[in-house]
């Protein structure tokens, strides 16, 4: 019996959230008396995955695996699952991971749990914690099948680098051809991706108009943060919908969430309430967001944010 992690590669680099998954899965494997196999598909990143605790590394390649495609990747990973007798596969819950996981779970005839934020020590009591009601609550879910696929929410597990190097086993995968055709891809470059960001600066209707987002972007850029917004802001097309966080937008769990001019409606909090540190800047001392915040400034964003930018630049040596 063994445990595997699908490690995602983006632009020739492994994703940080995959290191979180390998670190945590390898502890889980060890406590379960099992080994942890890192599986990569297509292009490889630079690091040795043994560093994060993997006991083995399988690299799958073949036609149709140059670029992520849920169907070809699921077929390839399933090849490895079968040949290595893998019971449980951990996948970081990115958009790609979320497309891959259900296909793989069906192929394995196993259980699927998404949104995992906490794992038990070992598989002797295989009860995991997942988010539900868009972060308004958590459920303890028992995995009763002997085969399973779990997707882990990024930034839920810490990275440990105490392992030692492992060799990479090359495996040819026969994944067939993809059943959908990619016509074009547009990636945003030079910006922190919101779904994977550790730090997020977010703006709401209190900012009055899209022309005032310069200061939000400047603060975000200075801190190395991603930008986000409330629903009305994206509904009015001040910002792209991909920045909309909340119950009907993206749910995020960064280490830091700075909310500027956002009232803190229940649907907004649902998507961001799990952030480790929440800072709220709002003119209204009665804004509900203050109740969910760790730090608050009652004040006008147009006066407060420039001060934050100035100080952040000083600290970062950019002033």
């Amino acid at each position: 019996m063994s445990i595997a992690v699908f490690v995602e590669t983006d632009n020739g680099e492994y994703k940080k959230s995959s290191f979180e998954a390998v670190s945590r899965a390898s502890e889980f494997a060890k406590a379960s008396g099992s080994t942890c196999i890192a599986i990569t598909v297509g292009s490889k990143g630079g690091e040795n995955l043994g560093k994060y605790g993997a006991n083995e590394h399988i690299h799958l390649s073949g036609d149709g695996l140059e670029m992520f495609h849920p169907q070809t990747y699921a077929t390839a990973v399933f090849n490895a699952v079968e040949s290595k007798g893998i019971n449980t596969v951990f996948i970081s819950q990115t958009y790609s991971g979320k497309s891959l996981a259900p296909l793989l779970a069906v192929k394995m005839n196993g259980a699927l749990v998404t949104g995992v934020v906490d794992l038990p020590e070992s598989n002797s009591d295989f009860t995991v914690t997942k988010t539900c009601f868009s972060n308004k609550a958590f459920a303890k879910v028992k995995v009763t099948s002997d085969k399973s696929v779990l997707t882990l929410i990024p930034n839920s597990f810490s990275i440990s680098e105490s392992g030692s190097d492992v060799n990479t086993e090359e495996m040819a995968a026969n994944a067939g051809s993809a059943n959908t055709e990619v016509l074009d891809t547009q990636k945003v470059t030079g910006k922190v991706v919101l779904t994977e960001a550790e730090l997020v600066v977010s703006g709401g209707r209190g900012l009055k108009g899209p022309e005032n987002w310069n200061m939000i972007e400047e603060l975000a850029d200075t801190l190395g943060a991603a930008t986000a917004c409330s629903k009305p802001v994206s509904d009015m097309e001040w910002r792209p919908h991909s920045e909309h966080v909340g119950q009907t937008g993206i749910t995020i769990k960064p280490n830091l969430y700075i909310a500027v001019g956002i009232s803190g409606a229940i649907q907004h909090l649902a998507g961001v309430g799990s952030s480790k540190v929440i800072c709220v800047i709002n003119t209204d001392p009665e804004a509900p967001f203050f109740k969910a915040a760790d730090y608050g400034i009652v004040g006008d964003a147009f006066e407060v944010v420039p001060k934050l930018i100035k100080r952040a630049k000083e600290i970062k040596g950019l002033a």
Partner: protein, 245 residues
């Protein structure tokens, strides 16, 4: 073009979430149920496509009889008929089996779902159903069009967007921006009363998970307020104490 729209019924977004029976059950007391917001989008887009190409929209929901009024709402918005698989939906794999089983018997060109349901946030159903049926999957779709024999869609990917083409039939999941959701009008509400809502039994009871208990997130210990005059202090605290950057 016949389209199957999968619909989940969820607590209204303003619901304050609480649990009963020693935190083992979701407290449904006073909870208003709505069509999952993403499913309103796929329903609306499905109606727009069938209006263009002909054909019908069927709605399927796996749930108990208490959800019938919400299913009627989908009929009022414009679906031609609805099917309810009479079972308590909990495990996603179980729900997917019911949908796949039904869909195999129909002659659907497209199966549309939501990107995720806002109660259990599985985000898994489209992939499960696609794989069970051996159909192509396009997840998290913000634009969708069809010429009647294939579809082109724009979908969200990590850090960007992608345009994808697929033959029919295929499975897609709706993301915000797909369309403006329709709301029922008086005529629709009247018509919905006589449209078929067929109840069928579940095919396979097996499930790979069990939901044992629930908990609420830990409450924040209280906000530390910083004077707006000295707003810079916030950055100092986040840097020096919290070591966040």
């Amino acid at each position: 073009m016949n389209i199957l729209v999968c619909m989940s019924v969820v607590p209204d977004t303003t619901t304050k979430i609480t649990f009963t029976e020693n935190d083992t059950k979701f407290n449904t007391d006073g909870v208003q149920y709505i069509i999952n917001p993403y499913d309103e989008l796929s329903l609306t887009r499905a109606l727009e496509l069938t209006e263009k190409h002909g054909g019908n929209v069927t709605v399927i929901h796996v749930g108990e009889a208490s959800t019938d009024p919400v299913i009627r709402k989908a009929l009022a918005i414009g679906a031609a008929e609805a099917v309810r698989v009479n079972a308590h939906p909990e495990d996603g794999m179980f729900v997917a089996k019911q949908i796949a089983e039904y869909a195999k018997q129909g002659n659907f060109d497209m199966i549309l779902m939501g990107r995720e349901s806002i109660d259990y946030n599985g985000g898994q159903m489209a992939g499960l159903v696609a794989e069970m049926m051996g159909l192509p999957l396009i997840n998290v779709v913000t634009e969708l069009d069809s010429d009647g024999s294939s579809v082109t869609a724009t979908r969200d990917i990590d850090g960007g967007k992608q345009q994808v083409k697929s033959s029919l039939p295929c499975v897609l999941s709706a993301q915000k921006d797909l369309c403006e959701p329709r709301i029922p009008n008086m005529r629709g509400i009247m018509q919905a009363r006589t449209k078929p809502l067929n109840v069928i039994e579940a095919v396979d009871q097996s499930s790979g998970t069990s939901f044992d208990s629930y908990k609420l997130p830990p409450a924040k210990s209280g906000v530390k307020l910083i004077d707006a005059e000295n707003a810079e202090e916030l950055i100092d605290l986040l840097h020096n104490e919290k070591k966040l950057f």
